[in-house]
């Protein structure tokens, strides 16, 4: 039987795999943190989610380092970690919130009120719809890639995305002061 890449890694010693993981993490964790923030809506919860997801990725690194797409695998771990009942129960036990940082949105030059309203509406979406929105419209995954990441059917992704967009439009449509996003209805 030919020597596998994984066996070669073992031969190279743990330091090589460790350095490999560290390098990947340095390059990718920023994106994971941003995605986690959109999923959780909370800075501390996002950091904790990514910390756990990266730890699990590290423990499985020998198995996944040579997978076709480590990024896709990591994203799947992150999303599963967030949506799984393990994660949800932990969150129920230790409710974390930094709402103070969100109640008063940062008013940058581009602040027009729509962003805060949209973010509020996204945060209010049911968990699965929110995950679909984040993966489809932030990560810009295809419907198929989104379905793979969430472990659901293509039809579920389509229906959840459709419902989410309808909800967001309805939510934003309730505001009289908005002239941006909902104008495309």
């Amino acid at each position: 039987m030919p020597t596998t890449v994984r066996e070669m890694r073992v031969d190279e010693g743990p330091d090589a795999a460790h350095a490999d993981f560290a390098s990947w993490m340095a390059a990718r964790q920023g994106r994971l943190l941003r995605t986690a923030y959109l999923l959780t809506g909370d800075v501390h919860a996002a950091e904790d989610l990514v910390q756990t997801a990266l730890a699990k990725l590290y423990l499985a690194w020998d198995r996944v380092a040579d997978a076709p797409s480590v990024d896709a695998y990591a994203r799947k771990v992150l999303v599963n970690e967030h949506t799984s009942m393990w994660r949800r129960l932990w969150r129920h036990r230790e409710v974390v919130s930094d709402t103070s940082t969100h109640e008063v949105p940062v008013r940058g030059e581009e602040y027009d009120g729509v962003g805060a309203a949209l973010w509020s509406a996204v945060r209010a979406l049911p968990e699965r719809q929110r995950a679909v929105v984040v993966l489809r419209y932030y990560e810009q995954l295809s419907e198929k890639e989104t379905a793979d990441a969430l472990g659901v059917s293509l039809g579920t992704v389509k229906s959840q995305a459709s419902r989410a967009l309808t909800t967001l439009r309805t939510h934003l449509g309730d505001r009289d002061d908005l002239t941006g996003w909902e104008a495309h209805r």
Binding site: A55, R63, Y137, T156
Partner: protein, 397 residues
């Protein structure tokens, strides 16, 4: 600017605010510390179990009884005939192939290879052994799943049914009924060799459920059939579906049900990042016994035992296979995998044997494991084309 582009722009801006709102990148040491916590959680439970074994030998009366109903998990009986050496894909005897069939590389393996399975599109994603055949769920490229009845000697039922993606079948003890959940939350029971099917009701929450148990051999209108369906993630909930009635949500105490047998519910009672506790309860919610060393997966066909694994599960495979006495939680068998060994699926084959899909670097195989720890290959090791995805799917009972 269209809606999707606008949404991307807004979300990107919000995502970038993670750092403006005080978020910081993680140090490698933080990740390694968390990995260490996860590892230590596993080791601690193993160490506590070993220490408790010693205590059990020296002073068996030390078992703690918290009240007259609830006992902590007793320790394994010490007898020399149990092989508790680590599971490994080594030099093992080769036995029969899985008695109820199996899938390899997405294709269901028939006992009589000459008989075809025309009409099946996609790859086998889930399977269940039923009377005179198997229920098999095929997943297409789109991710959508379709359920079929496959006859033991070949051939496929005329009827097929849509099935919730990622869900599984539940089968009655006698194997006459297989239940599953459709994508819209409708629970369906297929019986009598796939010739009859009954819609038992639609779970109000819709998607995200899987069937976990069926306790009767007939689910036709008016029959005393109970089908249980539970969430696969998200907010935990378990529903009871009976012919001709509205689906009922069970008590939150049974929300995490993983299997039901003779009125006993196995499932989680608490879950954390580093472990879990589970219990067996009766229908009156009395806790019969509990364990924080194992998570409970499935009752044996005769209901006497429970297949279990480690209390910590991360979805990447298990390093432990255990069998517990379903009456009291006593450990009958507790096997760990050898270094780098991972178990990706464990099922009962009959009352006395389990099948487990195991991976070690570069290889996958199906092991048959007896309650005495004996083991043989049900499918000899094959070269791993993909170290992260098993080529095998085993049918549940």
């Amino acid at each position: 600017m269209n809606t999707e582009t606008d949404l991307n722009t807004r979300l990107t801006r919000e995502a970038d605010s993670f750092f403006r709102n005080g978020g910081t990148e993680l140090d490698l040491s933080q990740v390694l510390n968390r990995a260490g916590e996860i590892r230590r959680g596993r080791r601690m439970r193993a160490t506590m179990l070993m220490a408790a074994c010693v205590l059990a030998i020296a002073a068996p009366t030390a078992l703690v009884v918290t009240n007259r109903h609830v006992t902590t998990q007793p320790q394994p009986t010490q007898h020399g005939r149990v092989d508790e050496s680590p599971l490994a894909l080594g030099d093992l005897p080769v036995g029969d192939s899985p008695h109820h069939g199996f899938s390899e590389d997405g294709t269901w393996q028939l006992r009589v290879a000459a008989n075809g399975l025309g009409g099946l599109r996609g790859q086998v994603a889930a399977a269940a052994a039923v009377k005179d055949g198997a229920m098999v769920a095929m997943r297409r490229e789109s991710g959508e799943m379709t359920a079929y009845f496959i006859y033991e000697q070949g051939g496929v039922s005329e009827q097929s049914w849509p099935m919730e993606s990622g869900s599984a079948f539940a089968v009655s003890d006698g194997g006459n009924v297989a239940a599953f959940v459709e994508p819209d939350g409708t629970v369906v029971a297929v019986q009598d060799r796939g010739t009859q099917s009954f819609e038992l009701g639609t779970i109000p929450r819709g998607t995200g459920f899987t069937a976990v148990a069926v306790d009767y051999e007939d689910c036709s209108e008016g029959a005393a059939c109970n089908v249980y369906a539970a969430t696969r993630g998200g907010e935990p909930e378990t529903y009871l579906l009976q012919p001709g009635t509205t689906p009922k949500a069970l008590s939150p105490a049974l929300a995490h049900t993983t299997d039901v047998s003779s009125g006993r519910f196995a499932g989680f009672t608490s879950i954390s990042d580093t472990g879990s506790c589970s219990a067996v309860r009766d229908a009156k919610l009395t806790t019969l016994w509990k364990s924080c060393d194992h998570r409970l997966l499935a009752f044996s066909p005769d209901g006497k035992h429970l297949l279990a694994s480690g209390a910590y599960g991360d979805g990447m495979g298990d390093g432990e296979l255990a069998v517990l006495d379903s009456d009291n939680g006593k450990v009958v068998l507790d096997l760990k995998t050898a270094a780098e060994g991972v178990l990706t699926q464990m099922v009962w084959e009959d009352d006395e044997h389990l099948l487990a899909v195991m991976h070690q670097p570069g290889r996958w195989a199906v092991l048959r494991i007896g309650l005495d720890g004996s083991r043989e290959y049900a499918v000899e090791p094959v070269k791993a084309e993909d170290d992260t995805a098993s080529p095998f799917v085993l049918p549940t009972l």
